[in-house]
Amino acid sequence: MAKKSFRQAINEALAQEMRRDPRVILMGEDVAGGQGAPGEDDAWGGPLGVTKGLMPEFGRERILDTPITESGFIGAAIGAAATGLRPVAELMFVDFMGVCFDQIFNQAAKFRYMFGGKAVTPVVIRTMFGAGFRAASQHSQCLYPIFTHIPGLKVAIPSSAYEAKGLLIQAIRDDDPVIFFEHKMLYDDTDDVPDEPYTIPFGEANLTREGGDVTIVALGRMVKVANEAADALARQRVACTVIDPRTTSPMDFDTILESVEETGRLVVVDEAHPRCNMAADISARVAQDAFKALKAPIRMVTPPHVPVPFSPALEDAYIPSAARVIEAVRAVTA
């Protein structure tokens, strides 16, 4: 199996689905790039080159550059989805949701319910998230808890190139609106990624480590951090199960509850702001439904309740680290 980067995995998923289904189209700011410009066409392929090369193959009819008009084109993707296409729209940074959230949470998410089950809205919104790029407060947020909060949306958060391809193909084939979160610090991570198309079902967590002492749940880039912590802890004879839910909506609570039934201990690692986030969501559910099994307090490892700072010195301190995960595990296993 070929090693591919997270970026390549996404590009490949898009290309393969576009070949398979002519109704799949792509749109976003500079997803090709160079529109109307005198120089190279397909000049960008997105700001980090993720969609580069798709336009030459599929043409501008299916790879649509857009003006800077997120309500306009995200809404257009949703309207197109409700009328027969299967658009993949790129919201460049999830931080930009504030100028177009209405179309996502009041339109796409609610069509089916409001219209009594008659709407199908197979739209995928790909978006970049997360800290570490020194991109400061307005380009570094996670915000997936907000989308997870909304009934009618599905939310996928791949943690590796392998998950990225399988989850994205699933997202495109899914008939509900899916928000697809790509952590910007993962794009260059490589993994074994099959050449052929494959899907990873939504709502099925992945166990990246298995161990009986403590259950660690982590998402996106934090899966790496959790695995790193688990490896270090293993050397110190603390055996961790690391669970990557892969989608937060639907959410595979069962796997987490089962694991906690065995380990009796839970640590949740979440890069999102600490209030009303996934760490809270998961912890609360466990405190409700696996309480009897718990042998120690639940611990949440998150950033502090502050915007993401610019300076590398501060940003590095902001992001949950393996050291903090280890400390949390030590606290609950002490």
Partner: protein
């Protein structure tokens, strides 16, 4: 655009159906039978019908909070609409949407919308589908004067033009957004704005069915032939409050009465077609009678309808449940 006798009768019937529907919803709301927020379209019938007479099954429309008229004009089932507004299981949306979310995608009616400015971006998408799949369809967004100030609407203008979409924006300028006058809230003009985006636009008397019919005809033709988006600005008037319960103290003394007397689009249609000898008054009277019976029947059925079963609370969220 020349309409034949059948078409003229159909147009009249649609306008009359909208008027009777809205008048009756007004009464039923006052009587306490209808819950929630209800915005009535009475007085604006010529716009919905004049536009939709140019559309067929390929075409899509997106409406506003004031959506009943657009629904009826696009062919939605009147019984099911009434049942929806009463919150019944037999409703067009199973009672889950209500007046503000009435929709029927099978008819190309993409929904009333509780969000002012919600529709125009969606219509860009519907137009994109038509363009991409080469269905020959067009997509129409109805927009209020108030809604014309929402950024989402203006983004849609620009996007429709940049993508050269078969999209039509119909600004239904009834002079008010809630209690705020459009002559205050809309800086500049609707036509000036369209021009600013390079979009062909016309202003029409929104209470003149034939004027709207023709303006929409041109716009639809332009869209179907790859000529891109158009905008139609119609001046018209609503006969009831912003929503049911609005005392309308912001309106001029006797304003609504005068409008009903002098500007009623249905009366004007009637006068024009009978004076021109295109239709007989008796034909139209017969329609009035039939429509009255239809609406009466719709209300009876709606009231006799079932409340949605408790299980319905948990369905239609995702395709799988």
């Amino acid at each position: 655009m020349q309409l034949n006798r059948e078409q003229l009768l159909a147009a009249y019937r649609m306008m009359r159906t909208i008027r009777a529907f809205e008048d009756r919803v007004h009464t039923e709301f006052s009587a306490g039978g209808i819950p929630g927020f209800v915005h009535l379209y009475a007085g604006e019938e010529a716009s919905a019908v004049g536009v939709c007479m140019n559309l067929d099954e390929r075409d899509k429309i997106a409406s506003t909070h004031r959506g009943h008229g657009h629904c009826i004009a696009k062919g939605c089932d009147v019984d099911a609409m009434m049942a929806e507004i009463f919150g019944r299981a037999e409703g067009l949306c199973g009672g889950k949407g209500g007046s503000m979310h009435i929709a029927d995608l099978d008819k190309g009616m993409m929904g009333a919308n509780g969000i002012v400015g919600g529709g125009p971006p969606l219509i860009c998408g519907a137009a994109l589908t038509a363009k991409t799949l080469k269905t020959g369809g067009v997509a129409v967004a109805f927009v209020g004067d108030g809604g014309s100030n929402q950024g989402t609407t203006m983004e849609a203008y620009n996007l429709a033009k940049a993508w050269n979409l078969p999209a039509i924006f119909v600004v239904e300028d009834n002079g008010y957004a809630e209690s705020t006058a459009s002559n205050w809230s809309v800086s500049g003009t609707q036509l000036g704005r369209a021009a600013g985006f390079g979009i062909p636009a016309v202003q029409v008397d929104g209470e003149d069915f034939f004027a709207i019919l023709d303006a929409a005809h041109d716009a639809v033709e332009r869209a179907r032939s790859g000529g891109g988006p158009s905008l139609i600005h119609g001046r018209l008037n609503r006969y009831y409050g912003h929503f049911e319960g609005d005392a309308q103290t912001y309106r001029g003394n006797g304003e609504v009465d005068r409008l009903r007397e002098q500007k009623d689009p249905i009366m004007r249609f009637r006068q024009r077609v009978t004076e021109a000898g295109l239709l007989e008054g008796s034909q139209l009277d017969a329609i009035d009678t039939a429509v009255a019976a239809q609406i009466e029947n719709a209300v009876m059925k709606a009231k006799a309808g079932a409340m949605p079963p408790p299980a319905a609370l948990l369905t239609d969220v995702y395709v799988s449940y």
